[in-house]
Symmetry: C2
Subunit: 347 residues, 2 copies
Amino acid sequence: MRAMTVVPGQPSTAGVSELPEPTADEGAVLVEGVAVGICGTDREIVEQGYGVPPPGSDRLVLGHESLGRVVEAPEGAGLSPGDLVAGIVRRPDPVPCPACARGEWDYCRNGRYTERGIKARHGYGAQRWRVDAGFAVPVPAELGVLGVLVEPASVVAKAWEQVDRVGDRTWFEPSSALITGAGPVGLLAALLAVQRGMDVTVLDRVTDGPKPGLVADLGARYVTSLADVDPQPEVVVECTGVGSVVLDVLSRTPPAAVVVLAGLSSGTPPVPVSIAELNATLVLNNAVVVGTVNAARRHYVDAVDALRRADRGWVERLLTRRVPLSRWTDALDATGVDVKVVIDLSD
Amino acid sequence: MRAMTVVPGQPSTAGVSELPEPTADEGAVLVEGVAVGICGTDREIVEQGYGVPPPGSDRLVLGHESLGRVVEAPEGAGLSPGDLVAGIVRRPDPVPCPACARGEWDYCRNGRYTERGIKARHGYGAQRWRVDAGFAVPVPAELGVLGVLVEPASVVAKAWEQVDRVGDRTWFEPSSALITGAGPVGLLAALLAVQRGMDVTVLDRVTDGPKPGLVADLGARYVTSLADVDPQPEVVVECTGVGSVVLDVLSRTPPAAVVVLAGLSSGTPPVPVSIAELNATLVLNNAVVVGTVNAARRHYVDAVDALRRADRGWVERLLTRRVPLSRWTDALDATGVDVKVVIDLSD
C-alpha cells in the first residue's frame, strides 16, 4: 500500500512510499484511509526535522489529522465495517503517568508518550492503517470528508473546556471572545465561540482570500489590528503563536480575563520586553494564561459534536484544496488563500 | 487623633497628622488601631505617587495591613468591644459589578472599587478608624499582634485557592512547590505550602539575615539559584515581580504546572525576550499562569486560620522591627534583614 512519508528535516525525501500492510499489533481495528489534513506541524517535520520516526525507521509516515473508514473491527468495539473514524494522535507510554492512566494523555507528565505521524509512531497518511478501538473516534456518516477536521477541532474543544474550567475559579460568564489567527484552528475556535452564543472577533493580517468572508458568515467581526477590537474580550484564544501577537494580547488583558495560548510558531527573534510590566498587567488584572496542546478522547467527541452542529456549507469552505496522495507534497506549499489542505488518500 | 499620612509621591510630606475622629458614615464599627504593617505598596505611594487620596483631600492616611481592637460595634455584628479585627482593604463601588456583587471584589470588573490606604479611601494607619462589620475580620485573641499579618496572608491564601481551582482543570495532585522571593508574602506562601504537606523550595538572592533560617525552620529548602531547584516544582508562587525571575520561572514550567504571579516590582528595564519561545513553552507544557492581586473576605478568613495553625514562634520572627507611630516614616527604610516592619499605633 502507499503512504506519505519523509525523512524528517530532509524535504527532498518527502514522497510516496510503498509499505507493507499494517500488522495486527498496530491495533485491532483495520481502517481504509480516506483523507488527512496538513498543518504547520507537518511542514515543520518535513522542513525543520521536528518529530521522530519510529524506532528502526529512517522515514516517518506523516498524517495526524485523520479520517478513515473501518474495514474490520473486533466484536464489542462499537465499530462496524463502513463506519467513519478519526484516529487519536497521542498514545500513552505502556507505563503511564498518573494523568495518562486517567485518559488525560494530553497532560502527560513524563513525556514518554508517542504521537501518530509526529513522534516515534507512524501516522495516518496511508491507504490503510490500524488502531485500537479506544483511539478511534466514530464520525457520523453525515459529516463525510468534514471528519478530517475532527483532530484540529479537538484542540479547539479542549481550549474551550479550559476556558470553562479555569474561568470557574471566580464568577465568570464571558460574553465576548477574541480569536487571533484565522487559520483552521482559529476559524474552528471562532465557530465554537459562536456556538456558545458569544460576541466574537477574529484577528488576522490578511485582507484577501476566504478568511474575512468565513468570519463574517459566522456572524463574527474580522479585524486586522488589535486596536480595532471592541468590546474588550473576556476570553482570548491565541492561535498564531507569533511573538508580537502573543505579547500584544497579554499586554491588554482586561480584568479576570482568560487567555488560551493554542498556537505555535518558530523563527521569531527576541525583542525588548519588560517582563516586569507584563507581570504587573497579569497580576493587577487577575488574568489567567493557559497553554494548551493536544487533546484527550473527550475533546475529539466534543469536536465531532461541534462539527455536526455547524452549518455544513460553512465547514466545507474550510477545505480549500484537495490533493491526491500521489502528489501530496504539493500540499506543503500553502498559498495565502488556503485554509485547510487535505490529502485524498483514495486517489 | 494621630494618623500616618502622606501626599502621594512627595516623600517629604510623610509624617504624623492630627485628624478629627472618624465619623459614623465611615462604618458602624469603631476600632482602636493596634498596628499596621508596611509593604512595598506603601513605599510606592510615598515615593512614586502610586495611590490616590480620598476626594477633597491632598493627604492619604496610609495603612492597609491592619490590626485593631473593637471599641464599639452595633448589635448583631458579631463583634464585641475588645475583639481584635483586621480590616479588609477593598470596597466595591456602590453600584457593584457582577463580581463585586458576589463578594468577589478582588475580581472587580469595572475598576470602580476603592482601597483603604491606597485608592480614594483613608487607610487603617490611625489611632482610631471605623469600618462596616462586613469588612472587619475577627482575629482570635491568641494571635495578638500577629494579626497584623492577616492581610498579607490573605493574598497568599487566595494564591493557594487559585492553585486548587485552576489546577483542577485536569488531574493535579501537586507535591512540590517553589516560592520565589522570601519577603513576607513569599514566607507566608511557603508556610501555607508546608501546611499542605508539600515539598517546598524558597528562592531568594540574600544569604544573610533571617530568611534562610526562617525557611529552614519551616522544613523547606532555601536556594539562591533556580538551577538548584530540584525536584521540578509542580506549583510556583512567584512573589518578587522581578522581570528576570518571572521570565526564568515561566521558561522552566514543567508539564501541567500552575504558576501563580503574586509579586509586583517596578523599574526593571526591557530585555530581549523571544515571546514565541516562551509561548511555545507554555503551550507544549499545558502550563497555566495565574495573576493574582487583592483578596475577598473568604481569603482573610483562610488567612486567620493558617496563622492560627502555624508555630507562633516562627510567625513572630517575621515581625523583625516595630516602630512607634510617632516615628513611622523610619519604617520606609527597609533594611536587608527586615522581613515585616510594623507600626505600633498605640505608641
